[in-house]
Symmetry: C2
Subunit: 146 residues, 2 copies
């Protein structure tokens, strides 16, 4: 992680470069795993996206979340358009080695492309999905500012 | 959800039966979506599993988490062996309609088949995945008690 990695002894950095820890991850048939971004402050789950090996490696090295966009079929440095980067505090792997969770600080306070804090703004109520959270910023403004 | 559904007017229950809300979910090519189970009390993310349409329908109707086991290829009523059911307080869907998050109460306090509270017990430290949480109960005991 940024800063953290730089402060480590050279031996540790060599371990990161070796990528053994990346081999431990059970990538699916598309070479991906789901990655949860959780607010390190209050525990709110902000979004789920996908990572390939390169995205996870870059996330660890840069200390800023990098995902794999399945629709655009390319690496997606979260915040590259909106400026709303995700500063990564911790990376964990689950018991099956096939799901990642990041503890993050969400720069700008908005993780969702709809302009809401979290992507999980639809709640099941009375057999319908109800939108229960406000748009904090117009997406047009969010993606036009850089 | 158990109790909640019963207390609703008949019209609402009919909406649930109709399954329109299930049609809104973007099931993947295998008919599945990832589902996050988050502790409704303190926000700890306990596990991620998969749901098909029937699993999500049953989760909403029964108020107890039901997943689809990809390895066993069958519905998996969480806690059916261990007794550690997940009482569901809330169901949300993300902006792309392809990830579910459940707010749950984890009966027995153990969500992971390894006997740990959460499945996310491996933390990336110095280029290695370190196990950073204790086993609370021997899995042999966990799965032998019913």
């Amino acid at each position: 992680m940024a800063g953290i990695a730089d402060a480590r002894p050279a031996a540790c950095r060599l371990i990161i470069v070796s990528g053994d820890w990346l081999d431990a991850v059970k990538w699916d048939s598309d070479g991906l795993v789901p990655a949860i971004a959780q607010d390190a402050g209050d525990g709110r789950v902000l979004m789920v996206a996908w990572m390939n090996r390169e995205a996870l490696r870059l996330t660890a090295e840069e200390g800023s979340a990098v995902y794999w966009s399945r629709s655009r079929r390319k690496l997606w440095h979260k915040g590259e358009e909106s400026g709303n980067r995700q500063s990564v505090k911790e990376i964990r792997l689950d018991c099956d080695n096939d799901v990642i969770i990041l503890q993050i600080e969400q720069i700008g306070g908005i993780a969702c492309h709809t302009g809401r804090r979290s992507c999980f703004f639809q709640r099941l109520e009375g057999g319908e999905w109800k939108t229960v959270e406000p748009v904090l910023k117009d997406p047009a403004e969010l993606y036009g500012k850089r």
